[in-house]
Amino acid sequence: MNIVVCVKQVPDTADVRIDPKTNTLVREGVPSILNPFDEFAIEEGLRIREKVGGRVTVISMGPPQAGEVLRTALAMGADEVELLSDRAFAGSDTLATSYVLSRGIEKIGNVDLVITGKQAIDGDTAQVGPGIAARLGFSQLTYVSRVEEVDPVKGTMVVERLLDGGRERVEAKLPALLTVVKGINIPRQPSILRIKKARTAVIPTRSAQDIGADPDLTGQKGSPTWVETIFSPEQKTKGEMITGDADEAAGRLFDVIHQSISL
């Protein structure tokens, strides 16, 4: 199996704020991390490789420093990594991002399976995975919580998807694209030796030209959506603290529940 995992470097969103004076994003000093869902995607790729054989290539689109997250992938056991990086990619929305990543995947060639996290925590759109599937014409399997079976000979796989209100077992033809949820596996802890080796590894970079991406379809030019304004969410007014002993408090909370949902 030729497996590609798509990952993203994201700011640790808990620390992102708006500067009230300039009304711009404050990202300085905010640590960058591997998107949490993507770690499960890498792990699932490695597990499938271990079961049925093949290669795992982990790719990411981003500025040069985004290559750091690919070191985690190398340490975990990826065969290869690639950073798709070009000034022309800056400002890409989900449509342009899915274009760049699908160009990168086509350049790798003969890919059977693409895996990515269900969404990135900075944008929370969950749109890039389906976008890649649509562009490549792959079977689309989102919110996968279990890979039950992969049969490279028959060219099929069976997965379980975690949806609102239940789980769906689906059989799909390969090639396929999976987006995975937390809980599908427990990602491995790479050994110190592997981490050390990954730290000094050279991260190969691919430009728009390398992957044959049309610069008109990437970056702001290739993005149909744009951010018109940003603002801070409304701050809730300070709530009411309920005092008194447990019985009084329970009585007051009972009333509050009553009002809130009109029992």
Binding site: I121, A133, G165, E168, S232, A250
Partner: protein, 394 residues
């Protein structure tokens, strides 16, 4: 200023005509001309080998470039034979947007047996139902639904398409917008229109809810957005009436479908988190895994669902499907009762837009109290059983 054909470069090969999803290009005297159904999606620009087509800059796109695109559409998500509540909420909100634009709101209905759903939809103030009927559309499957929707959108050209941000809706919208090469904004919490430009203003939280962004995608059509359930009010149903159903031929074949649903396993609890009106959520502060049973009892009495913090899920106290927060689910119930949850930013990102939040925690400095509408400092197991008693004896 629409799409520009550089006639000195155009050789009339017709590759772009085949690529166009909207039949907006045709050959006149061996040169390509652009018709008014062009959405500026740019697929032809990509396909042209002679660089003979240029897409205009964003700034120069005028509303009149899209005069063939009219109307607001709502995708009908059908669960167990009835329209999902978010569909009805979007009909209500779509109607308001449509009125400002001087058009109507219509439904896009894809399924096998569509009549009962169409009757139900007729109780709301909709203009038309655009439908595709096929046995292949019996259950939601990405490829079949996206293909059917593309056919309808090409034929009838709505300017706005709204889709509920459920797991199904988001699976569907991502593929559909990509094939149409148009803009899609995920998980909106507010919508408005700018009438002069007929632009959809799409507001959504980003960076875990720390920031709100208003997004536009008005240089393409249709403008697409997924919208969170329970953000907009349910419209009041009227009586059933005759609504025009515009049925399109289905060209979907069973053989071409890449996925097959083998089984649907409903979650053991009757209510799911995304839909629940009330969520009773537990953190490490409830003491031990068994105490989730107490929260479940309260949730059942309130017709709600049980949520959980990441810490309890990671400790194996409860299944991941209950996790609320950044790496779990984002919820917005009428009432969220946080029991023994300290309120890490990642948890707050998943629940802080709930209408009313009750927080019970032993630590008076717990950050959960910063978002709580009502707070009580104390032991969960002291309070919750007493509330349960009061509910039982009411």
């Amino acid at each position: 200023m629409g799409l520009k054909i550089i006639s000195s470069k155009c050789v009339g090969c017709g590759l772009c005509i085949k690529a166009c999803p909207f039949d907006a290009l045709k050959l006149v005297d061996k040169k390509v001309v652009v018709l008014s159904s062009c959405t500026l999606c740019g697929l032809c620009v990509d396909k042209c080998k002679f660089e003979a087509i240029e897409k205009p800059d964003r700034e120069t796109v005028k509303p009149e470039d899209f005069k063939d695109f009219r109307g607001v559409w709502v995708f009908v998500q059908v669960d167990d034979g009835t329209p999902h509540h978010v569909t009805l909420e979007l009909i209500g909100e779509g109607k308001k947007l449509a009125e400002e634009l001087g058009v109507g709101v219509s439904c896009m209905l894809l399924g096998n047996i569509i009549e009962p759903v169409a009757h139900e939809l007729s109780r709301y103030d909709i203009e038309r139902i655009y439908a595709v009927k096929s046995p292949e559309l019996e259950r939601y499957r990405t490829r079949a639904f996206v293909d059917a929707a593309i056919g309808l959108i090409r034929e009838h050209r709505p300017e706005i398409v709204l889709i509920g941000a459920t797991s199904t809706g988001r699976d569907f919208a991502g593929g559909l917008a990509t094939v149409l090469r148009t803009g899609l904004t995920a998980d909106c919490t507010d919508l408005a229109v700018e009438v002069e430009t007929r632009s959809l203003l799409q507001t959504r939280p980003a960076f875990g809810g720390n920031i709100m962004a208003t997004i536009k995608s008005s240089r393409n059509r249709p403008q697409m957005a997924t919208v969170r359930p329970k953000v907009f009010a349910m419209p009041h149903p009227g009586t059933e009436r005759d609504v025009e159903v515009v049925l399109s031929e289905s060209t979907i074949s069973g053989d071409g479908q890449p996925t097959k649903v083998l089984e649907w396993i409903p979650s053991r609890e009757g209510v799911n988190l995304a839909d629940a009106n009330v969520i009773v959520s537990g953190g490490r502060g409830i003491g031990k895994p068994e105490n989730f049973a107490v929260l479940k009892e309260l949730a059942d009495l309130l017709g709600g669902a049980v949520g959980a913090s990441r810490a309890t899920v990671d400790a194996g106290w409860i299944d991941y499907s209950h996790q609320v927060g950044q790496t779990g689910r984002t919820v917005r119930p009428s009432l969220y009762i946080a029991c023994g949850i300290s309120g890490a930013v990642q948890h707050l990102a998943g629940m802080k837009t709930s209408d009313v939040i009750i927080a019970i925690n032993r630590d008076p400095d717990a950050p959960i109290f910063n978002v709580a509408t009502y707070g009580y400092v104390g032991d969960v197991m002291d309070i919750v059983p007493r509330i349960i008693d009061k509910l039982k004896n009411r």
